[in-house]
């Protein structure tokens, strides 16, 4: 399946500098906060100050009396049926009770839940009015953790009868039999802390209602504009063709941005309600409360192995603290934690269950490597624990268990409900693992294992990961050959900072057999193509790119058909070269002169199977046993993506992903108190990695085994190396502190937590 790329790699595979950069570097980007409409008003959201309570009434009179305030909208303004946020993925009937209303009406279930929307002349006035809103809430006891949720004496959803929303099961082989016959088993409990994507540009929308044409325009959409248009149309009782969703520059996504949140409805609703353009820009404090949280998971998991280190089973139970509601993609991480816990390893027998538990915290959703970061932490720790117990070198232990190339395609555990069957599409885990070891100079660095040098203990570790990509079902592209001989590519994929304008132009240029600067890429907005699916699950390059390849073929066929009569030959005899076409007899014509008007084609790439990029990551840490500080001295990663479109941007994804992972392993933690109040509500408290923290990170990306599933041979690679980082850092810390017999089972490995591990180990 490599048609359409006849000229080979003129552009694909080249480290082409991004076209996006020219505007971003000079302050000429257009982010949603930069969008202004004539006569616009500004909105702020009044959010619940308590974690759990019965909402009796909202008195907005004082706020309405403030000069400059135009409206305060509460759930009462929606009529009898308060619209809810539907489930974009896994829309199972059993999850219906847990959907979030656009505004709280009978109950509030987390601090930060929207209760009212204030619209005023300026954002400052709207914020002044916040203090004047009086919400009468009868506080209920808050549930913040699994133990509290399981007691069941307080329920978030009384009618449901339990705080557990659903159980997800991942099954492969016969785990019971495997554990019964195993030489060795070990069972441990693990915890991954709540943290979040925290992209740098806060969310925001500008919405405008054209009353004459009854049309709505929304600026600020991201990731999944088409799906959100469907939701918005349903909830606002409009047809989809009455709504235009405009994607402007997007300051980072990482899974969290662009999902349908209450504000995605509230701002357009306010604009129509007031018949004025309304702008809302999320502030950082509310971002920390309002945007999806992620990762909070407890696991009780057991590994089974033969005495020579062959892992034969994984089984156990996990509990995902999903917060107060099931949001659009709230099922993904709990499912992934179970289905992908085996990762790159051939583990034949699996029985893993994840229970999604509701609590009075911010709802959760996907964050780069959802469920995979958590599951890999558990698995990589268990492998090192088993290796230690069995007296096997952890490197050798991994080698013995990696899925080998002759096992490809390799089926993973099957997930139910909402059945998902998937298999690793291609790869050579062992070759990549050895390359990573060599590039990291493992054989030298491993000599430092557990050594105390200048007050710090050194440790190294290596682990392996898989990265699912290319989620279907389809992506659409439309390509227009313009009058000036340039090509405009319209694409359903969305930009979230990954550089798709550049990458897609590379693919289109090669597919159309024209130079890079003849191609212009427009994407994301609903007006560009008939339908689209957007950017999630590392899908844009494969899905959007493949759609471009197919569309380019269709367009070239159309052009050949159109010029063939003039050239006096059959369409298959026509040769296209940039703006010109030639026939077998040597005649050359300008395509545009023959056709005389823009010509276009549209096509979709359909796909049901996932691609799996895979790789290895090695870490070298030094631990100060007195302070508990973990210094990351070096991280090296090696990854196979099948086919590389742009090595510059791809390596950028890898290094960025590693550093995000280090944030999750060492720094980031959304801490709640027992009352359900978020204690880390500023960027001075929620600790993101900064330039001083992790200086020595390097990545290698290779093209070893192309994906057989798409015409490019490419695999989704936007999430990648973050996935194993928690496990790898924990293993390196364990290796460093081997003299103390410290075995980290919880993240983050903050200085107080590491210090506590050492203190506890010394006392026992």
């Amino acid at each position: 399946m490599t048609s359409g790329m006849k000229r080979g790699n003129a552009l694909i595979g080249q480290p082409i500098e991004r076209v996006e950069d020219l505007r971003f570097l000079r302050g000429r980007g257009t982010f949603v906060a930069d969008v202004n409409r004539e006569g616009q008003l500004h909105a702020v959201i009044y959010r619940s100050p308590v974690a759990h309570g019965l909402l009796r009434s909202v008195d907005a009179q004082a706020a309405l009396n403030l000069p400059g305030v135009h409206a305060v909208i509460t759930a009462q303004d929606f009529g009898a049926d308060v619209p809810v946020i539907p489930l974009r993925l896994q829309p199972l009937p059993e999850l219906v009770p847990f959907r979030q209303p656009m505004l709280a009406h009978d109950k509030v279930r987390y601090v930060g839940e929207p209760i009212a929307i204030i619209v005023a002349d300026t954002a400052a006035i709207a914020e002044d009015a916040l203090d004047l809103i009086d919400a009468d809430i009868d506080a209920l006891p808050p549930i913040t953790d699994r133990a509290g949720a399981e007691l069941g004496d307080v329920l978030l959803f009384d009618e449901h009868g339990s705080n557990s929303a659903i159980e997800w099961n991942a099954v492969r082989g016969d785990a019971e039999a495997a554990f019964a016959s195993a030489d060795y088993t070990r069972r441990e409990t693990f915890k991954v802390q709540r943290h979040a994507a925290l992209f740098m540009e806060p969310r925001g929308f500008v919405a405008e209602w054209n009353a004459n044409e009854e049309k709505l325009t929304v600026w600020g959409v991201a990731k999944v504009a088409f799906a959100n248009r469907t939701i918005l149309a349903d909830t606002m009782a409009l047809s989809e063709n009455q709504i235009d969703m405009v994607e402007v520059d997007v300051g980072g996504g990482f899974g969290s941005r662009g999902e349908f949140y209450p504000e995605d409805f509230l701002i357009p609703f306010a604009a129509r309600h007031l018949n004025r353009p309304v702008k809302w820009i999320e502030d950082r404090r509310e971002h920390l409360l309002a945007a999806n949280h992620a990762r909070e998971l407890e696991c009780d998991v057991e590994i089974a192995a033969t005495k020579d280190g062959k892992i034969i089973g994984l089984r156990g139970q996990s509990w995902a603290n999903i917060g107060a509601y099931v949001r659009t993609n709230g099922s993904i991480a709990p499912r992934n934690a179970a289905q992908f816990m085996s990762g790159a390893y051939a583990i034949e027998n699996i029985q893993l269950t994840t229970t999604s538990i509701t609590t009075n915290k911010t709802p959760t959703g996907t964050y780069r490597g959802p469920g995979r970061f958590e599951g890999d932490f558990v698995r990589e720790r268990l492998i090192d624990l088993a290796a230690k117990d069995l007296g096997i070198d952890p490197v050798e232990m991994r080698r013995r268990n990696l899925v080998s190339s002759d096992q490809m395609p390799y089926p993973l555990a099957t997930m139910t409900p909402f059945e998902s069957v998937t298999e690793l599409d291609s790869g050579d885990n062992h070759a990549l693992f050895d390359q990573c070891l060599a590039e990291f100079d493992w054989s030298e660095k491993v000599k430092l294992q557990g050594k105390l040098i200048d007050g710090r203990y050194h440790g190294v570790s290596i682990g392996c990961f898989i990265e699912g990509g290319a989620a279907g079902p389809s992506e659409n592209a439309r390509i227009v050959l313009e009058l000036d001989g340039s090509y405009t590519v319209y694409l359903g994929s969305a930009a979230v900072g990954q550089g798709i304008q550049t990458i897609m132009a590379q693919i289109a240029g090669d597919a159309l057999e024209v130079p890079f600067d003849r191609v212009r890429v427009l994407h994301g907005s609903t007006s560009h193509v008939k339908s689209g699916f957007g950017s999630f699950h590392s899908r844009s390059t494969v899905m959007g790119g493949s759609a471009i390849v197919l569309t380019a073929e269709a367009l070239k066929d159309k052009i050949r058909d159109a010029v063939a009569p003039t050239l006096g030959c059959t369409p298959t005899e026509v040769t296209l070269d940039g703006g010109n076409a030639s026939g077998p007899s040597g005649g050359v014509v300008s395509i545009m002169e023959v056709i005389g008007e823009p010509i276009e084609a549209e096509a979709a790439f359909l796909n049901k199977k996932y691609t799996y990029a895979y790789g290895s990551v090695a870490a070298h840490v030094a631990v100060d046993p007195k302070t508990g500080q973990v210094d990351v001295l070096e991280i090296g990663s090696t990854k196979d993506v099948g086919r590389m479109i742009n090595p510059l941007t791809l390596n950028g994804q890898s290094v960025g992903s590693i550093v995000q992972g280090l944030g999750g392993a060492l720094l980031e933690h959304l801490v709640y108190d027992k009352e359900g109040q978020l204690l880390t509500g500023t960027l001075a408290d929620y600790l993101l990695p900064t330039a001083g923290d992790f200086p020595n990170i390097h990545s290698t990306v290779v093209e070893l085994k192309p994906s057989p599933l798409n015409p490019l041979g490419a695999k989704g690679a936007g999430e990648g190396e973050i996935i194993p980082i928690g496990g790898i850092i924990a293993n390196a810390v364990a290796a460093a502190l081997v003299d103390f017999n410290v075995e980290p089972l919880e993240l983050p490995l903050s200085p107080p937590n590491v210090w506590r591990l050492i203190e506890t180990a010394q006392k026992t």
Partner: protein, 284 residues
Amino acid sequence: MKFPSFEYACPASLADAVALLSEEGDAMVLAGGQSLMPILAFRLAAPRLLVDLKNVPGLDTIKISAEDVRLGARVRWCDIEKHTGLSAAQPLLAEAISHVAHYQIRNRGTVGGSIALADPAAEMPGIAVTCDAEIALTGKLGERVVPAAKFFLGAMETCIQPDEIITEVRLPLWPSDRCWAFKEFARRRGDFALAGVAVFYDVDANGCAANTHIGVIGASDRPCRLGSAEQIINGAFLDATVIEAAAEAASNEIEPMEDHHAPADYRCALVKTLLERALTRAMA
């Protein structure tokens, strides 16, 4: 997060600034604004008037004399960093201030602002207390000078009266042969420290430590001296045993706060470690 509404005044003299504060009971002083502005952004305060000191003359100078070092209230962290004389005249200050915040904040943040904010983990108040500094204030009744030890009353709490403005911090003479060190531990570069210690002592004719000053930040509701540790050092010839004993005493003396950044026992252990490292550094 837009600021609440307020009036703004930019008086040209200290007297005018004091008069504005006296007349408007609900006023706050603005210097660099690097702590005040976030407080206003989160609407933790909503004064009716901000009195900007930027045009008040004389507050931005660093004076080094035979008696002391005087830092004007509007002296910024970058001024201290770039000053050529301070690393000799007040090396402990220079070292501690190198840990304050980030590049852009350092271009605006001021000595007076930090003293007035009285964050328990901040370096400047810690140095003021450690070094027996005096803080000069001017109000409607004139100037008064308060020893740092009596200036800080609790977390974010000081003895400044509503009509008063900090004008100067006076640090006593620093003998050139003094032994000193500053150590702090923060999660990331520029963050407020989880704890920090500032140490100095002089060496007497017998080679023993005298006049020991040990200050700690981030370990209680205000910066404070650690008398029990100082006592152990004073009169002793510093070695690993003495240092260990002093560090242990320091760890026992403090009653740290507990918050989501660190539990109390961790802070106790941290202060012990930091003091060990500081004393080891000071005697090197």
